[in-house]
């Protein structure tokens, strides 16, 4: 990310999730797009208010699962028929039913790893620094009991004075400016 300067956005703090959801819904209706909610636990209604309904984690997981399945099954087949054929009680070299179990386990293994690391990658994590951590009230609240709405400066509608006034209409506990 290129180094930025100036204002990242305006952060409004709410005491309860209902006020946050209401404010977000209204802001979305009023044409705000570059905004984000920050909550100490998942608030589905906030995601709906942000019009964020789908994500790519299931797709990443599916691709991972299929790769794991293909990788292990072909490895087993190659080992048992070409690389190191063994006669085990007269069973065929390509005894695919026996290959299912490790292939099944690897399907789950790769799918699980893809789900976790795919989720982190899609979220842009790890990201140990973020401008929001500069906000004085974010640290005490965002991971404990406060609910935040951030209008980002990148939104075309953003104007520091106007946006601040706009956020005040939702009666938040506070509105602070966040610097990069």
């Amino acid at each position: 990310m290129p180094a930025r300067e100036g204002t990242y956005g305006l952060l409004a703090e709410f005491d309860n999730p209902s006020d946050l959801v209401r404010a977000t819904r209204q802001a979305r209706q009023d044409g705000w797009r570059r905004m984000e909610c920050y909550t100490p636990y998942p608030v589905e209604e906030a995601a709906e208010a942000l019009n964020f309904h789908r994500n790519k984690v299931p797709l990443v997981t599916l691709v991972g699962a299929l790769m794991g399945l293909a990788a292990m099954f072909s490895l087993e087949t190659w080992i048992s028929t070409l690389a190191y054929p063994l006669n085990i009680g007269g069973r065929p070299m390509y005894s695919w039913p026996a290959f299912i179990v490790p292939a099944y386990e690897w399907t789950i293994l790769w799918a699980g790893l893809s789900a976790c690391f795919g989720m982190l990658a899609l979220n842009g994590l790890p990201a140990l620094y973020h401008p929001l951590f500069n906000a004085p009230n974010f640290r005490d609240g965002a991971t404990t009991d406060k609910f935040f709405l951030c209008l980002e400066a990148l939104d075309p509608k953003f104007d520091l004075i106007e946006a601040k006034k706009y956020l005040e209409t939702f009666h938040p506990a506070s509105v602070v400016e966040v610097q990069y």
Binding site: Y38, Y41, V43, A47, N55, G112, T144
Partner: protein, 474 residues
């Protein structure tokens, strides 16, 4: 009943059940309560005492394993005909204990059982530490553990590859996948809580460590939604995984043409037994923990009660398994099967079968019917120990009494564990406890973000702040 309701604030008047979370908790109070255990600079003396004892017991494992590596598996009681002894019994027992953790974290999540939220983190930790103990046994049992990597399909210079038609190799993949996915699930679940610990800790070191562990979690809604999807997917993946792991372990036995092992009932019966013993272990851990750390408001009688119900159900599946084994021994009209079963009950090792019946069936399945007993903390603690003992004996019975009477009477033998067997087993109990103590001290043992979701404050309503209401009135 009505009187009881009025008198007991722990009961929810709407349902008559115990509350999942005690009354009067807020986002901040639960966060404080849970994070303080980790962030306090003062470690309780009792923690040091228990950690010291557990560490001392774990040292026995170190001694036993060192001697084993120097001398070989001959120091154990395994020989012909009982070639599988304590190592396999303990392996199956530990893995089984681990399964309840996955059941709580994955299957109960899919079934939207909110009550699981308080106990899932330490149940998952229990899973991981149990798998650590379990995984060690096959590795040290192979005789030359330094060649353990031969189990993996790696391109060696001698171009030897594993044999994929053996359940023992399937085990390698099942258990390694299980360990990996359990760790991933556990760690992913802790990321938001690491964020909380980072933000609440006052020491610089803790801020750095938890900050890095939290990968910069900031609670963004888009992040949360992807996170929730990933959690659900992992739960959906862990569910067939946990069933497959114990199924594969039961294949280790069931695929062998040995009376007492060669049965199709083994996979479901092993899985149910695993969950049965695992819930018992969760109780063994949860009851002292909630008392010691004053978590009675978060791990309530409701949890103990529900776990008792799960144990009752799985206990009956296990009972069905025992019954079917006996029935099939008779119905098969196989001389070997019939003899094996008669000998299992009344032979020289018959006592172990009756210990198992007493501990797994007679005591729990008669008493778990009563809510009075299910919510009696002392009784449930006692019962959890009884069931754990019973389940250990189940594996002992399956392994030893199927092996020690071979087909030919001239090959009959017996099994008497040596002191090294006992030291290894008891040592893993110490290792498990020591690891668990470290977990309790340094990691959030109750998932704060999931508890917050269940509080009344998390309800979304058309709520308007008092200021706004006043304004609207104007």
């Amino acid at each position: 009943m009505a009187v009881e309701l009025k008198d007991n604030p722990k009961l929810d008047p709407a349902t008559g059940e115990y509350r999942v979370i005690g009354p009067g908790q807020t986002f901040r109070s639960v966060t404080e309560k849970i994070s303080r255990i980790v962030l306090t600079p003062h470690t309780p003396l009792g923690w040091f005492a228990l950690f010291g004892v557990a560490g001392a017991v774990a040292t026995m494992l170190l001694v036993a394993v060192t001697w084993l590596f120097l001398v070989g598996v001959g120091i154990w009681a395994i020989t012909q005909p009982v070639a599988w002894g304590f190592a396999i019994i303990n392996f199956v027992w530990w893995i089984g204990i681990g399964h309840a953790g996955t059941l709580i974290s994955a299957i109960l999540l899919l079934f939207k059982q909110g009550w699981r939220n308080s106990i899932n983190r330490f149940a998952e930790a229990m899973t991981i530490f149990a798998v650590v103990c379990a995984g060690m046994f096959p590795l040290i049992h192979v005789g030359r553990p330094w060649l353990g990597y031969w189990l993996l399909p790696l391109p060696y210079t001698m171009t030897v590859w594993p044999q994929f038609r053996s359940p023992l190799l399937w085990d390698v993949f099942a258990v390694s996948t299980y360990a990996t996915i359990s760790v991933v699930f556990w760690y992913m679940g802790m990321i938001p809580d690491f964020g909380t610990l980072r933000d609440r800790s006052e020491s610089k070191i803790a801020q750095y460590v938890y900050g890095i562990l939290s990968v910069g979690w900031r609670g963004s809604t888009r992040h949360w939604m992807r996170y929730e999807t990933a959690s659900l997917l992992l739960a959906g993946l862990a569910t067939p995984l946990v069933l497959s792991v114990h199924t594969v372990i039961s294949f280790d036995f069931a695929v062998a043409v040995l009376p007492g092992w060669h049965t199709t009932i083994f996979p479901p019966y092993f899985v149910a037994g695993a969950i049965y013993s695992g819930f018992a272990m969760v109780l063994t851990l949860a009851i002292p923990l909630r008392k010691f750390y004053h978590l009675e408001a978060l791990v309530t009688e409701r949890h103990i009660d529900n776990m008792g119900k799960v144990m009752l159900a799985t206990g009956f599946i296990v009972a069905y398994g025992y019954g079917m084994e006996a029935f099939m021994a008779w119905y098969s009209a196989s001389h070997w099967e019939t003899f094996m079963f008669w000998n299992r009950m009344f032979g020289p090792m018959g006592w172990s079968y009756w210990v198992l019946v007493t501990c797994n069936l007679a005591i729990p399945l008669t008493t778990l019917w009563f809510r009075k007993l299910r919510t009696n903390i002392a009784y449930m603690f006692f019962l959890s120990i009884v069931v754990n003992t019973g389940m250990w004996f189940e594996r002992f019975v399956i392994v030893v009494t199927s092996l020690y009477r071979d087909f030919l009477p001239s090959s009959w033998g017996t099994y008497r564990a040596t002191k090294w067997d006992y030291m290894t087993y008891v040592g893993t109990l110490g290792l498990f406890t020591a690891l668990f103590m470290l977990f309790v001290r340094f990691l959030p043992m109750i998932p704060m973000n999931e508890i917050r979701m269940m509080l009344p404050g998390a309800k979304i309503g058309p709520k308007i702040t008092p200021k706004a209401a006043a304004k609207a009135g104007d």
